[in-house]
Amino acid sequence: MNFDFNAVIQAIPYLFGTGMTFTLTLTLAAASMGLVLGTLLAVMRLSPYRLVSVPAGIYVNTLRSIPLLLVIFWFYFLMPYIGAWVTGASRPINIGAYKSAIITFTLFEAAYFCEIMRAGIQSVSRGQMAAGLAIGLTYRQAMQSIILPQAVRNMLPSLVTRVIILFQDTSLVYVLSLTDFLGAGAKIGQRDGRLVELYLFVALVYWVICFSASRVVKFLERRTRVAR
Protein backbone atom coordinates (compact mmCIF):
# COMPACT_ATOMS: atom_id res chain seq x y z
CA MET A 1 0.00 0.00 0.00
CA ASN A 2 1.31 3.42 -0.81
CA PHE A 3 -0.95 6.29 0.02
CA ASP A 4 -0.58 9.59 -1.73
CA PHE A 5 -2.35 12.22 0.27
CA ASN A 6 -0.98 14.94 -1.99
CA ALA A 7 -3.88 14.09 -4.27
CA VAL A 8 -6.22 14.98 -1.41
CA ILE A 9 -4.48 18.24 -0.61
CA GLN A 10 -4.62 19.38 -4.22
CA ALA A 11 -8.30 18.46 -4.40
CA ILE A 12 -9.29 20.44 -1.32
CA PRO A 13 -10.36 23.66 -3.13
CA TYR A 14 -12.62 21.65 -5.44
CA LEU A 15 -13.93 19.35 -2.70
CA PHE A 16 -15.03 22.22 -0.49
CA GLY A 17 -15.60 24.99 -3.04
CA THR A 18 -17.87 22.93 -5.23
CA GLY A 19 -18.76 19.74 -3.34
CA MET A 20 -19.32 20.91 0.22
CA THR A 21 -21.00 24.11 -0.96
CA PHE A 22 -23.55 22.03 -2.83
CA THR A 23 -24.03 19.63 0.11
CA LEU A 24 -24.63 22.49 2.54
CA THR A 25 -26.93 24.35 0.14
CA LEU A 26 -29.04 21.25 -0.37
CA THR A 27 -29.11 20.53 3.38
CA LEU A 28 -30.13 24.03 4.36
CA ALA A 29 -32.69 24.43 1.57
CA ALA A 30 -34.34 21.08 2.30
CA ALA A 31 -34.20 21.64 6.06
CA SER A 32 -35.82 25.08 6.00
CA MET A 33 -38.48 24.31 3.41
CA GLY A 34 -39.05 20.84 4.88
CA LEU A 35 -39.58 22.39 8.28
CA VAL A 36 -42.30 24.70 6.95
CA LEU A 37 -44.02 21.89 5.09
CA GLY A 38 -43.52 19.53 8.03
CA THR A 39 -45.19 21.98 10.42
CA LEU A 40 -48.12 22.25 8.05
CA LEU A 41 -48.38 18.46 7.88
CA ALA A 42 -48.19 18.17 11.66
CA VAL A 43 -51.04 20.63 12.09
CA MET A 44 -53.01 18.63 9.53
CA ARG A 45 -52.30 15.33 11.27
CA LEU A 46 -53.45 16.74 14.61
CA SER A 47 -56.61 18.17 13.09
CA PRO A 48 -59.90 16.75 14.36
CA TYR A 49 -61.20 16.59 10.76
CA ARG A 50 -60.46 13.19 9.26
CA LEU A 51 -60.65 14.64 5.77
CA VAL A 52 -57.55 16.65 6.66
CA SER A 53 -55.71 14.30 9.02
CA VAL A 54 -56.02 11.08 7.02
CA PRO A 55 -54.37 12.27 3.77
CA ALA A 56 -51.55 13.83 5.78
CA GLY A 57 -51.15 10.52 7.65
CA ILE A 58 -51.00 8.54 4.40
CA TYR A 59 -48.43 10.91 2.92
CA VAL A 60 -46.20 10.76 6.00
CA ASN A 61 -46.43 7.00 6.54
CA THR A 62 -45.86 6.15 2.88
CA LEU A 63 -42.78 8.32 2.57
CA ARG A 64 -41.42 6.92 5.82
CA SER A 65 -41.86 3.34 4.61
CA ILE A 66 -39.91 3.52 1.37
CA PRO A 67 -36.19 4.12 0.78
CA LEU A 68 -34.96 7.63 0.12
CA LEU A 69 -33.14 6.34 -2.96
CA LEU A 70 -36.41 5.19 -4.45
CA VAL A 71 -37.99 8.54 -3.63
CA ILE A 72 -35.08 10.28 -5.38
CA PHE A 73 -35.68 8.24 -8.53
CA TRP A 74 -39.43 8.73 -8.32
CA PHE A 75 -39.27 12.50 -8.25
CA TYR A 76 -36.41 12.71 -10.72
CA PHE A 77 -38.60 11.06 -13.33
CA LEU A 78 -41.97 12.33 -12.11
CA MET A 79 -41.05 16.02 -11.85
CA PRO A 80 -40.95 16.67 -15.62
CA TYR A 81 -44.50 15.30 -15.93
CA ILE A 82 -45.74 17.31 -12.96
CA GLY A 83 -44.04 20.36 -14.43
CA ALA A 84 -45.83 19.80 -17.72
CA TRP A 85 -49.14 19.34 -15.92
CA VAL A 86 -48.71 22.51 -13.87
CA THR A 87 -47.64 24.68 -16.80
CA GLY A 88 -50.01 23.00 -19.25
CA ALA A 89 -47.15 22.10 -21.56
CA SER A 90 -47.73 19.24 -23.95
CA ARG A 91 -44.51 17.40 -23.25
CA PRO A 92 -42.48 16.70 -20.06
CA ILE A 93 -40.39 19.64 -18.90
CA ASN A 94 -36.76 19.03 -18.07
CA ILE A 95 -36.13 20.62 -14.70
CA GLY A 96 -32.70 19.10 -14.04
CA ALA A 97 -31.19 17.00 -11.31
CA TYR A 98 -30.37 19.92 -9.03
CA LYS A 99 -33.90 21.28 -8.64
CA SER A 100 -35.26 17.78 -8.56
CA ALA A 101 -32.94 16.93 -5.62
CA ILE A 102 -34.00 20.00 -3.64
CA ILE A 103 -37.70 19.25 -4.18
CA THR A 104 -37.21 15.57 -3.32
CA PHE A 105 -35.36 16.19 -0.07
CA THR A 106 -37.83 18.88 0.96
CA LEU A 107 -40.84 16.61 0.44
CA PHE A 108 -39.07 13.64 2.04
CA GLU A 109 -37.78 15.48 5.11
CA ALA A 110 -41.17 17.11 5.66
CA ALA A 111 -42.57 13.68 6.52
CA TYR A 112 -39.91 13.18 9.20
CA PHE A 113 -40.13 16.72 10.56
CA CYS A 114 -43.91 16.29 10.77
CA GLU A 115 -43.55 13.29 13.09
CA ILE A 116 -41.04 15.12 15.29
CA MET A 117 -43.33 18.15 15.58
CA ARG A 118 -46.32 15.96 16.34
CA ALA A 119 -44.45 14.14 19.11
CA GLY A 120 -43.21 17.49 20.44
CA ILE A 121 -46.70 18.97 20.64
CA GLN A 122 -48.07 15.81 22.23
CA SER A 123 -45.22 15.80 24.76
CA VAL A 124 -46.67 18.90 26.41
CA SER A 125 -49.09 17.67 29.04
CA ARG A 126 -52.82 18.10 28.45
CA GLY A 127 -53.05 19.99 31.72
CA GLN A 128 -51.13 22.87 30.12
CA MET A 129 -53.85 23.45 27.51
CA ALA A 130 -56.51 23.15 30.21
CA ALA A 131 -54.65 25.66 32.37
CA GLY A 132 -54.38 28.07 29.44
CA LEU A 133 -58.09 27.85 28.65
CA ALA A 134 -58.87 28.17 32.36
CA ILE A 135 -57.24 31.60 32.58
CA GLY A 136 -59.36 32.74 29.65
CA LEU A 137 -57.08 32.28 26.61
CA THR A 138 -58.60 31.13 23.35
CA TYR A 139 -57.45 27.82 21.81
CA ARG A 140 -55.22 29.67 19.35
CA GLN A 141 -53.70 31.86 22.03
CA ALA A 142 -53.04 28.90 24.30
CA MET A 143 -51.44 27.01 21.40
CA GLN A 144 -49.25 29.97 20.47
CA SER A 145 -48.15 31.21 23.85
CA ILE A 146 -48.21 28.07 26.00
CA ILE A 147 -48.06 24.81 24.03
CA LEU A 148 -45.80 25.68 21.08
CA PRO A 149 -42.96 27.35 23.06
CA GLN A 150 -42.72 24.27 25.28
CA ALA A 151 -43.08 21.90 22.33
CA VAL A 152 -40.32 23.63 20.36
CA ARG A 153 -37.95 23.38 23.30
CA ASN A 154 -38.74 19.70 23.76
CA MET A 155 -38.23 18.82 20.11
CA LEU A 156 -35.19 20.95 19.36
CA PRO A 157 -32.69 18.12 19.97
CA SER A 158 -34.67 15.73 17.71
CA LEU A 159 -34.91 18.38 14.98
CA VAL A 160 -31.17 19.02 15.00
CA THR A 161 -30.51 15.26 14.97
CA ARG A 162 -32.77 14.96 11.94
CA VAL A 163 -30.86 17.73 10.15
CA ILE A 164 -27.62 15.83 10.81
CA ILE A 165 -29.19 12.74 9.20
CA LEU A 166 -30.36 14.89 6.30
CA PHE A 167 -26.81 16.21 5.90
CA GLN A 168 -25.58 12.60 5.69
CA ASP A 169 -28.41 11.53 3.38
CA THR A 170 -27.70 14.26 0.83
CA SER A 171 -24.74 12.10 -0.23
CA LEU A 172 -27.32 9.89 -1.98
CA VAL A 173 -27.63 12.48 -4.78
CA TYR A 174 -24.58 10.58 -6.02
CA VAL A 175 -27.07 8.43 -7.98
CA LEU A 176 -28.16 11.51 -9.95
CA SER A 177 -24.47 12.19 -10.76
CA LEU A 178 -24.61 15.50 -8.91
CA THR A 179 -21.37 16.89 -7.53
CA ASP A 180 -21.96 17.00 -3.81
CA PHE A 181 -19.07 16.51 -1.37
CA LEU A 182 -18.95 12.75 -1.94
CA GLY A 183 -19.51 13.17 -5.66
CA ALA A 184 -16.62 15.64 -5.87
CA GLY A 185 -14.38 13.19 -4.02
CA ALA A 186 -15.41 10.34 -6.32
CA LYS A 187 -14.74 12.42 -9.45
CA ILE A 188 -11.26 13.45 -8.39
CA GLY A 189 -10.54 9.95 -7.11
CA GLN A 190 -11.48 8.38 -10.42
CA ARG A 191 -9.55 10.98 -12.43
CA ASP A 192 -6.34 10.54 -10.43
CA GLY A 193 -6.76 6.85 -9.60
CA ARG A 194 -6.74 7.80 -5.90
CA LEU A 195 -10.17 6.54 -4.81
CA VAL A 196 -8.87 5.08 -1.53
CA GLU A 197 -7.34 8.34 -0.32
CA LEU A 198 -10.28 10.46 -1.44
CA TYR A 199 -12.95 8.22 0.09
CA LEU A 200 -11.05 8.05 3.38
CA PHE A 201 -10.72 11.82 3.45
CA VAL A 202 -14.40 12.32 2.59
CA ALA A 203 -15.38 9.93 5.40
CA LEU A 204 -13.16 11.78 7.85
CA VAL A 205 -14.64 15.19 6.99
CA TYR A 206 -18.20 13.90 7.27
CA TRP A 207 -17.32 12.32 10.59
CA VAL A 208 -15.80 15.50 12.05
CA ILE A 209 -18.81 17.59 11.04
CA CYS A 210 -21.47 15.10 12.20
CA PHE A 211 -19.68 14.29 15.43
CA SER A 212 -19.33 17.98 16.33
CA ALA A 213 -22.98 18.58 15.50
CA SER A 214 -24.02 15.62 17.66
CA ARG A 215 -22.18 17.26 20.59
CA VAL A 216 -24.40 20.30 20.06
CA VAL A 217 -27.43 18.01 20.32
CA LYS A 218 -26.06 16.60 23.59
CA PHE A 219 -25.74 20.15 24.90
CA LEU A 220 -29.30 21.01 23.84
CA GLU A 221 -30.62 17.85 25.49
CA ARG A 222 -28.92 18.66 28.76
CA ARG A 223 -30.27 22.21 28.68
CA THR A 224 -33.80 20.99 27.97
CA ARG A 225 -33.60 18.57 30.88
CA VAL A 226 -32.39 21.22 33.31
CA ALA A 227 -35.07 23.66 32.22
CA ARG A 228 -37.84 21.20 33.05
Binding site: L68, L69, D169, L172, Y206, S214
Partner: protein
Protein backbone atom coordinates in the same frame (compact mmCIF):
# COMPACT_ATOMS: atom_id res chain seq x y z
CA UNK B 1 -49.81 14.36 -21.34
CA UNK B 2 -48.59 11.30 -23.03
CA UNK B 3 -47.33 8.70 -20.65
CA UNK B 4 -48.15 5.26 -21.87
CA UNK B 5 -49.05 3.20 -18.80
CA UNK B 6 -49.07 -0.53 -19.39
CA UNK B 7 -49.79 -3.28 -16.90
CA UNK B 8 -48.57 -5.94 -19.26
CA UNK B 9 -45.00 -4.67 -19.17
CA UNK B 10 -44.41 -6.89 -16.15
CA UNK B 11 -44.74 -10.05 -18.25
CA UNK B 12 -42.45 -8.74 -20.98
CA UNK B 13 -38.99 -10.23 -21.17
CA UNK B 14 -36.38 -8.30 -19.25
CA UNK B 15 -33.00 -7.15 -20.51
CA UNK B 16 -31.46 -10.58 -19.92
CA UNK B 17 -33.84 -11.98 -22.56
CA UNK B 18 -34.88 -14.94 -20.44
CA UNK B 19 -36.91 -13.76 -17.44
CA UNK B 20 -39.94 -11.51 -17.22
CA UNK B 21 -39.73 -8.19 -15.41
CA UNK B 22 -42.03 -9.60 -12.77
CA UNK B 23 -39.46 -12.32 -12.14
CA UNK B 24 -36.49 -9.94 -11.96
CA UNK B 25 -38.41 -7.68 -9.58
CA UNK B 26 -39.18 -10.67 -7.36
CA UNK B 27 -35.48 -11.57 -7.44
CA UNK B 28 -34.88 -8.01 -6.25
CA UNK B 29 -37.32 -8.54 -3.40
CA UNK B 30 -35.41 -11.70 -2.53
CA UNK B 31 -32.07 -9.89 -2.33
CA UNK B 32 -33.61 -7.05 -0.34
CA UNK B 33 -35.01 -9.60 2.11
CA UNK B 34 -31.75 -11.55 2.31
CA UNK B 35 -29.77 -8.37 2.88
CA UNK B 36 -32.14 -6.90 5.48
CA UNK B 37 -32.58 -10.15 7.38
CA UNK B 38 -28.85 -10.88 7.61
CA UNK B 39 -28.04 -7.31 8.59
CA UNK B 40 -30.97 -7.19 11.03
CA UNK B 41 -30.00 -10.37 12.87
CA UNK B 42 -26.30 -9.47 13.02
CA UNK B 43 -27.10 -5.91 14.15
CA UNK B 44 -29.43 -7.13 16.89
CA UNK B 45 -26.80 -9.52 18.23
CA UNK B 46 -23.85 -7.13 18.19
CA UNK B 47 -26.03 -4.14 19.01
CA UNK B 48 -26.97 -5.90 22.24
CA UNK B 49 -23.31 -6.39 23.09
CA UNK B 50 -22.42 -2.77 22.36
CA UNK B 51 -25.43 -1.58 24.37
CA UNK B 52 -24.20 -3.61 27.34
CA UNK B 53 -20.73 -2.09 26.92
CA UNK B 54 -22.27 1.39 26.79
CA UNK B 55 -24.07 0.83 30.10
CA UNK B 56 -21.29 -1.12 31.82
CA UNK B 57 -19.88 0.35 35.03
CA UNK B 58 -16.31 -0.10 33.75
CA UNK B 59 -14.89 3.10 32.26
CA UNK B 60 -12.97 1.18 29.61
CA UNK B 61 -15.86 -0.93 28.36
CA UNK B 62 -18.03 2.19 28.24
CA UNK B 63 -15.34 3.99 26.26
CA UNK B 64 -15.02 1.17 23.70
CA UNK B 65 -18.78 1.06 23.19
CA UNK B 66 -18.99 4.84 22.79
CA UNK B 67 -16.15 5.00 20.26
CA UNK B 68 -17.81 2.29 18.17
CA UNK B 69 -21.19 4.04 18.12
CA UNK B 70 -19.76 7.48 17.40
CA UNK B 71 -17.67 6.21 14.47
CA UNK B 72 -20.44 4.36 12.65
CA UNK B 73 -23.24 6.81 13.37
CA UNK B 74 -21.45 9.87 12.03
CA UNK B 75 -20.42 8.79 8.54
CA UNK B 76 -23.06 8.69 5.77
CA UNK B 77 -24.12 5.16 4.93
CA UNK B 78 -23.25 5.58 1.26
CA UNK B 79 -19.70 6.63 2.17
CA UNK B 80 -19.44 3.60 4.45
CA UNK B 81 -20.67 1.43 1.59
CA UNK B 82 -17.85 2.75 -0.63
CA UNK B 83 -15.33 2.21 2.16
CA UNK B 84 -16.33 -1.46 2.45
CA UNK B 85 -16.50 -2.02 -1.29
CA UNK B 86 -13.72 0.09 -2.80
CA UNK B 87 -11.35 0.87 0.05
CA UNK B 88 -11.29 -2.30 2.18
CA UNK B 89 -9.79 -4.57 -0.55
CA UNK B 90 -7.01 -2.00 -1.05
CA UNK B 91 -5.97 -1.70 2.58
CA UNK B 92 -6.14 -5.44 3.36
CA UNK B 93 -3.08 -7.66 2.70
CA UNK B 94 -2.81 -8.15 -1.06
CA UNK B 95 -3.99 -11.79 -1.17
CA UNK B 96 -7.12 -11.00 0.81
CA UNK B 97 -7.88 -7.89 -1.18
CA UNK B 98 -7.52 -9.74 -4.46
CA UNK B 99 -9.76 -12.52 -3.19
CA UNK B 100 -12.43 -9.93 -2.35
CA UNK B 101 -12.13 -8.23 -5.72
CA UNK B 102 -12.39 -11.51 -7.61
CA UNK B 103 -15.65 -12.54 -5.98
CA UNK B 104 -18.20 -12.30 -8.76
CA UNK B 105 -21.77 -11.04 -8.92
CA UNK B 106 -23.71 -11.13 -6.67
CA UNK B 107 -21.67 -12.29 -3.66
CA UNK B 108 -18.90 -9.80 -4.33
CA UNK B 109 -21.50 -7.07 -3.72
CA UNK B 110 -23.68 -8.87 -1.21
CA UNK B 111 -20.96 -9.51 1.37
CA UNK B 112 -19.65 -5.92 1.55
CA UNK B 113 -23.27 -4.72 1.67
CA UNK B 114 -24.10 -7.03 4.60
CA UNK B 115 -20.93 -5.92 6.40
CA UNK B 116 -21.75 -2.26 5.82
CA UNK B 117 -25.39 -2.48 6.92
CA UNK B 118 -24.47 -4.64 9.94
CA UNK B 119 -21.76 -2.35 11.27
CA UNK B 120 -24.07 0.64 10.78
CA UNK B 121 -27.13 -1.17 12.16
CA UNK B 122 -25.15 -2.34 15.20
CA UNK B 123 -24.43 1.27 16.13
CA UNK B 124 -28.07 2.29 15.69
CA UNK B 125 -29.57 -0.68 17.52
CA UNK B 126 -27.02 -0.25 20.30
CA UNK B 127 -28.32 3.26 20.92
CA UNK B 128 -31.95 2.09 20.90
CA UNK B 129 -31.19 -0.73 23.33
CA UNK B 130 -29.08 1.51 25.54
CA UNK B 131 -32.05 3.85 25.94
CA UNK B 132 -34.20 0.84 26.87
CA UNK B 133 -31.69 -0.39 29.45
CA UNK B 134 -31.36 3.06 30.98
CA UNK B 135 -35.12 3.48 31.24
CA UNK B 136 -35.26 0.57 33.72
CA UNK B 137 -35.27 1.54 37.40
CA UNK B 138 -31.74 1.25 38.81
CA UNK B 139 -33.08 -0.94 41.59
CA UNK B 140 -33.67 -3.81 39.15
CA UNK B 141 -29.96 -4.27 38.57
CA UNK B 142 -29.28 -3.82 42.28
CA UNK B 143 -31.86 -6.46 43.19
CA UNK B 144 -30.19 -8.95 40.86
CA UNK B 145 -26.75 -8.07 42.19
CA UNK B 146 -27.95 -8.28 45.79
CA UNK B 147 -29.09 -11.89 45.33
CA UNK B 148 -25.60 -12.84 44.21
CA UNK B 149 -25.91 -12.81 40.41
CA UNK B 150 -22.71 -11.90 38.56
CA UNK B 151 -22.83 -8.75 36.37
CA UNK B 152 -23.27 -10.88 33.23
CA UNK B 153 -26.07 -12.86 34.85
CA UNK B 154 -27.77 -9.61 35.87
CA UNK B 155 -27.79 -8.52 32.21
CA UNK B 156 -28.81 -11.95 30.94
CA UNK B 157 -31.64 -12.72 33.34
CA UNK B 158 -32.82 -9.36 34.71
CA UNK B 159 -31.95 -6.39 32.46
CA UNK B 160 -32.10 -7.62 28.88
CA UNK B 161 -35.42 -9.52 29.06
CA UNK B 162 -37.05 -6.27 30.20
CA UNK B 163 -35.06 -3.98 27.88
CA UNK B 164 -36.02 -5.98 24.77
CA UNK B 165 -39.70 -5.68 25.68
CA UNK B 166 -39.46 -1.92 26.19
CA UNK B 167 -37.68 -1.22 22.91
CA UNK B 168 -40.01 -3.19 20.61
CA UNK B 169 -41.70 -0.01 19.24
CA UNK B 170 -38.47 1.91 18.44
CA UNK B 171 -36.91 -1.36 17.27
CA UNK B 172 -39.71 -1.63 14.69
CA UNK B 173 -38.67 1.61 13.03
CA UNK B 174 -35.00 0.60 13.22
CA UNK B 175 -35.75 -2.66 11.37
CA UNK B 176 -37.81 -0.72 8.81
CA UNK B 177 -34.78 1.54 8.52
CA UNK B 178 -32.54 -1.43 7.71
CA UNK B 179 -34.94 -2.52 4.94
CA UNK B 180 -34.90 1.01 3.52
CA UNK B 181 -31.13 1.44 3.84
CA UNK B 182 -30.54 -1.87 2.07
CA UNK B 183 -31.37 0.00 -1.17
CA UNK B 184 -28.03 1.82 -0.88
CA UNK B 185 -26.44 -1.49 -1.98
CA UNK B 186 -27.53 -0.66 -5.54
CA UNK B 187 -24.70 1.88 -5.68
CA UNK B 188 -22.14 -0.94 -5.59
CA UNK B 189 -24.11 -2.94 -8.15
CA UNK B 190 -26.27 -5.29 -6.09
CA UNK B 191 -29.56 -5.79 -7.91
CA UNK B 192 -31.89 -5.59 -4.96
CA UNK B 193 -35.43 -4.25 -5.32
CA UNK B 194 -34.60 -0.61 -6.09
CA UNK B 195 -31.76 -1.74 -8.36
CA UNK B 196 -34.06 -4.07 -10.33
CA UNK B 197 -36.68 -1.33 -10.67
CA UNK B 198 -34.02 1.02 -11.96
CA UNK B 199 -32.82 -1.61 -14.43
CA UNK B 200 -36.37 -2.15 -15.64
CA UNK B 201 -36.89 1.59 -16.01
CA UNK B 202 -33.70 1.93 -18.06
CA UNK B 203 -34.51 -0.87 -20.50
CA UNK B 204 -38.29 -0.73 -20.78
CA UNK B 205 -38.82 3.03 -20.35
CA UNK B 206 -41.84 2.10 -18.26
CA UNK B 207 -40.57 4.32 -15.48
CA UNK B 208 -43.60 4.56 -13.28
CA UNK B 209 -44.69 0.94 -13.50
CA UNK B 210 -41.22 -0.03 -12.34
CA UNK B 211 -41.12 2.40 -9.42
CA UNK B 212 -44.72 1.66 -8.43
CA UNK B 213 -43.86 -2.02 -8.23
CA UNK B 214 -40.81 -1.28 -6.08
CA UNK B 215 -42.85 1.02 -3.84
CA UNK B 216 -45.48 -1.69 -3.40
CA UNK B 217 -42.68 -4.16 -2.60
CA UNK B 218 -41.23 -1.95 0.16
CA UNK B 219 -44.67 -1.19 1.59
CA UNK B 220 -45.37 -4.93 1.72
CA UNK B 221 -42.04 -5.81 3.32
CA UNK B 222 -42.27 -3.06 5.92
CA UNK B 223 -45.91 -3.94 6.53
CA UNK B 224 -44.72 -7.43 7.42
CA UNK B 225 -42.06 -5.96 9.73
CA UNK B 226 -44.72 -3.92 11.54
CA UNK B 227 -47.04 -6.91 11.88
CA UNK B 228 -44.29 -9.21 13.10
CA UNK B 229 -43.21 -6.69 15.73
CA UNK B 230 -46.82 -6.17 16.83
CA UNK B 231 -47.11 -9.91 17.26
CA UNK B 232 -43.93 -10.02 19.33
CA UNK B 233 -45.12 -7.11 21.45
CA UNK B 234 -48.42 -8.84 22.22
CA UNK B 235 -46.78 -12.22 22.71
CA UNK B 236 -44.27 -10.93 25.25
CA UNK B 237 -46.55 -8.41 26.97
CA UNK B 238 -46.45 -8.76 30.72
CA UNK B 239 -49.51 -9.49 32.82
CA UNK B 240 -50.45 -6.53 34.99
CA UNK B 241 -48.46 -4.31 32.71
CA UNK B 242 -50.32 -1.09 33.42
CA UNK B 243 -49.54 -1.28 37.12
CA UNK B 244 -46.01 -2.14 36.20
CA UNK B 245 -45.61 0.95 34.04
CA UNK B 246 -47.05 3.18 36.73
CA UNK B 247 -44.62 1.75 39.23
CA UNK B 248 -41.67 2.25 36.90
CA UNK B 249 -42.53 5.92 36.63
CA UNK B 250 -42.86 6.11 40.39
CA UNK B 251 -39.48 4.60 41.17
CA UNK B 252 -37.89 6.55 38.32
CA UNK B 253 -38.87 9.88 39.84
CA UNK B 254 -38.10 8.87 43.41
CA UNK B 255 -34.48 7.90 42.86
Amino acid sequence: MNYDWSWTVFVDLSSNGVDTYLYTLLMGVGWTLALSLSAGVISLFFGSIVAVLRTAPSVWLHFIGTVYVEIFRNIPLLVQMFLWYFVLPEVLPKDWGDALKQMGQPWGQFIPAVLCLSFYGTARLAETLRAGIQSLPRGQGQAGTAMGLTPLQVYRYVIMPQAYRIVIPPLTSEFMGIVKYSSVALTIGLLELTGQARAMQEFSFHIFEAFSAATAGYLAINGCVVMAMHYLERHFALPGRIGWKARMKLSGSAS
